[in-house]
Every structure is written in C-alpha cells, then in structure tokens.
Amino acid sequence: MSTNATLLLVNLVYLAITLGIGYVAYRRTTAAADDYFLGGRTARTFVLFMALFGTNVTPFVLLGIPGISYHAGIGEFGRNAAIIALGIPLTFYLIGYPAYVAARAIGAITPAELYRERFGSPAVGLVLFLAYFVYTLPYMVTSVLGVGIAVDVLTGGALSLAVGAALILIITIAYTSLGGMRATMWTNVFQGTVFLTFIVLLFAIVARDHGGLAAATAAVQAHDPSLLLPGDRPQYQLGAFGSWGLAISLTVIGFPHIFVRLFTAQGETALKNVCRLYPIILLVLWLPAVLLGVWGAAEFPGLVGKASDRVFPLLVQRHVGPALQGVALAGVMAAVMSTLDAQALTLSSMLSRDVIRRYAPRLLAGERREVLIGRVFMIVLALIVFAVVLAEPASIFDIAKFSFSGYVTLVPTLYLGLRWRRFTAAGAIASIVGGNVALVLAILGWLPGLGLMPVAHGLVAAIALGVLVSLWTKPAPARCSDRVLGPIERAFGEGR
C-alpha cells in the first residue's frame, strides 16, 4: 500500500470514529437550547478537562510552537508554557468559577447573555459578541491553516492545502451542528487523547533516532548553540517577555469557546480538578512541542520565516512510517477539530441568543428555530474561514498573536463584571471598545512602544477606561446586579 493510501485509510478510520461519537451524542441531545448548547451542564472532571484542553490546544501548539522554536530556541518554553501553567488555573478560579456560579443561577447559556443580564443591557451583549467574532475568526483560520499545511506536506502535495482545509471544515461543521455541545465534548476526549499521545510518541521516536536526548541536544549545539538559550532576541527582553506572558496567561479565559465550557461543569469539584490537571498536562504537551522545533532546526536547516511552521510534519515524514504519519495527520486534525467545533458552536449560540433573539425576535419561533439558525450560521462561518485560509495571510504564530491580544482586552470586563458591583454597562462598553482601539493603534505603531507588546497598551486602556467610566456613570439597577452577583458573593462567603 502506498504512503498516501495508508494516510488516507488511517484518517478515514479517525474521521469515522469522530463522526460515530458525534452521532451517538446527537441521539442523546434534545432540541432544548440548554441541552444543545451546554450538554445539559453535566460534565464531570475527565470529560470537562479533555473538552477544555482539547479546545485550548490548536495547531498553534502542534505546528506554531515548533515553528517559532525553530527560529527562537528553547526560550519559547519559558515564554509560553511556564506562565500559562499558573495563569490558566488562576483565571479559571478568579473569573471562570464566578461565571459558572452565576450562569447556573440565572440559566445563562452564553457569555454575552451572562453579561447582558448582569448589566441589564443588551448593548453589552452585542459588543461582546462582536469582539468575540472579530478575534475568533482569525483564530479559526490558524486551526484550519494548520491542517492544510499538514495535509499538503504529509501527502507530498497530492492533497493540497485547500482540499485539507475544506475537508476539515465539512466534517467538523457536520458533527457540531448535529450533536451540539455534547458531541463536541465527547469527541474532544477522543481527539485530545489522539494528539497528546502522538506528540509524546513522536518526541520519543525522534530522540531515539538521534541516539538519545543528550545526542539530540548535542546536534543542536553543533548546528546553532544560540538555540539552547534565550539570548538577546527581542522577544526575551524584559518588556516584551512580560507583556507576552500577560497576554498568553489572560487570553485563555478570554476565549469564548473556553469560557462557555466552564458553564457545562457538573459541580465545583470538576472545576477544581481541571485546575489541578492543567499544569501537569501542559508540561507533557509543551516540552515535546518546543524541543521538536529546536531539534528540527538542526535537522532541516534553512526554513525561512513562516516556512518553519512545516517543521513538525517534516519531522513526522522523516522519522515515522506511513501508518504513524496517518496518526500524525489525525492528531493535527484532532487538535483542529476539537477547537473549531467549540468556536463554531459558541459563536452560533451567541448569534442566535444574543443578537437575533434581541434584534430580530420574529426569526426565532421557539427553541427549535434557535438551534436551526445556529446551524445555518456555522455553515456561513465555515465559508468565511475557508476563504481567508486560501489567502494564507501570515504565519500561524502571528495570526494567533493578533487574536490572543484581542481576547486579553476583554478580560477586565469579564472580571470586573462579576466581582465589582460599581462596574457599569457604559464602563464595560468603554473598556472593550477603548481597549481594542488602543490595541490597534499600538499594532500600527501610533502609540509609544515603551518596550512593550501592543497587548499591554490594550489591557491598560481597557482597565483604565472600565474603571473611570464606571465611576462616572450610574450602576445597573440593583435587581440586575443582585440576580447575577448575589449567587457569586454567597459562593465566596461575602453575603450582603
């Protein structure tokens, strides 16, 4: 059997299993919005963790991190992985847990709905939806682009980037639109297992082929010893290192597709266990991702710029046989699908509940229609993503960097909205809009850099505007605040 035929066979098996899981979930899902969009809020530790982790991990880690480590060396581990091992659990506790408590108390299904109810302001829900849409779209592009690259390299160009991208979008939208949240969470367990197992396996195989870990390090030292230390590269200078750390630790709670998954937890114990597992599994995933990129620099010298995103599939091609190459492709697809499905589902739920229900309620005659509109929106979203992927505008890391920075500007609203009674709807809108304006101005170089990355400007503006405008404007009626903040304050033992 030829390599391409083996690749195809392995991936057909993978896709069949994924669709099978999606079908079983579909059979168990009712047309009720709470069940379709949140899986009935019954996720326990293992499923919740795998759903969050699977959603969190994208080709940014599997292809983007080896790609950037190829040029920047082992410093990428400290710059990215270390700080999120603390940052993600911390934000899950500070923002995710209160959101979970409040969403459960008022029956909110989307993040925009939760904050709309908190402020008694549909405008806040709309602004949040727009911001989420603007930053999720490019993030979806990174995922699909990653699959396209992997398919293109591993099949030696027999299947093009465009074919790979189209295939992944069709399958993902199919099972997501049918089975909703339950389908995405169940498939994420399988998908997370596939990509985590594969990257660890590949790490072991490549190390063995080098003659061991010490020999692999020696090969890098002989090729370019600067890859074994952070050095004077601009991203490791204090200001840039700190602002990127801020961005990458805060961004995850800013992802709407992660935020909403916290609503699905069956109880606090599941949320606490997720926080405990996160740093351990991050270590298992990121160490291989960075080292494979660094080892790849010694093995495949000469990849320039975004071409280094191809180092992961190149290593796969050289070090493993056709069957495992098939698993590698399935692993990349798994990482993509487990994120793409959650992103599509979350955006579609916000569109139907927070935009159409508010501004064109005639379109929504009952929950069944709401789910249908969500499904149609997913198809439109997939078409837009496909069009942008074909343009291949920048490297995976650079596109993700833009999205991550945007999500961070939402974090002050997400936190203050749940923990500060004086925070107002006008403050929230000023924070989101002003934070994003500052971010764009900094990206364009119209604000003084001060050695920081643009995300720092966006975050400072979002905090300052949120606080100042809130102090200057009238707070939401007590009945709105009490309804959302009351359960949170009781959970934290701060009863009023």
Binding site: I74, G75, F77, G78, A81, A82, I83, A85, L86, P89, L90, Y93, Y97, V101, G212, L213, A214, A216, T217, Q221, P225, L228, L229, P230, G231, D232, Y236, L238, F241, G242, G245, E268, K272, N273, C275, R276, Y278, P279, I280, L282, L283, L287, V290, R490, A491, F492, G493
Partner: protein
C-alpha cells in the same frame, strides 16, 4: 494553628506575585550550560522546575483558597423523604 480562608488567600496572593517575579529569569538568558540530566539547557530546566512549583501552588489554591459552597438547605420534599414519609 488553623488559618481562615481569607488568610490562605493572602498567602496564595503573595506566593503568586513571588512566583511571577521568578518567571523573569534574565540571569539565564546567556547561558545554556550545565545541562540538567545531560540534555536540558539551563533556561529550559529552570522553567520546568518553575512549573512544578506552580503546580503545587495550584493544588494549594484549590484545597485552601477556593471556597466550598454552602450546602443547599434541604427542601421540604427532601425533608419529608428523609423522614420516611
């Protein structure tokens, strides 16, 4: 001595600040050697160790800082059932 949740929260906050400061290991920026376990460059080994400490801190947070929600008051229906009625 039994500390309150609020006291644990303060300890946790201070530990988080210290650990975050230790994340900025500029002193490792220009050295790769000695290799830990014969293969891990200094900065990489440092941040692996950092994650181990962060993991311990997260366990502390979930055990001592994260509030345990008050048990829901038994509803009339539950009380009746518990009484075997």
């Amino acid at each position: 001595m039994v500390l309150s949740r609020r006291a644990h929260a303060r300890i946790f906050a201070v530990a988080c600040v210290l650990l975050t400061l230790l994340h900025f290991d500029v002193w490792n920026n220009h050295r790769a050697l000695p290799l830990t376990f014969g293969w891990m460059p200094v900065d990489l080994a440092y941040h692996v160790g950092w994650i181990v400490v962060a993991t311990a801190l997260v366990f502390y947070m979930t055990a001592r800082v994260w509030p345990t929600p008050p048990a829901p008051e038994p509803s009339a229906e539950t009380s009746t059932r518990a009484n075997g009625e």
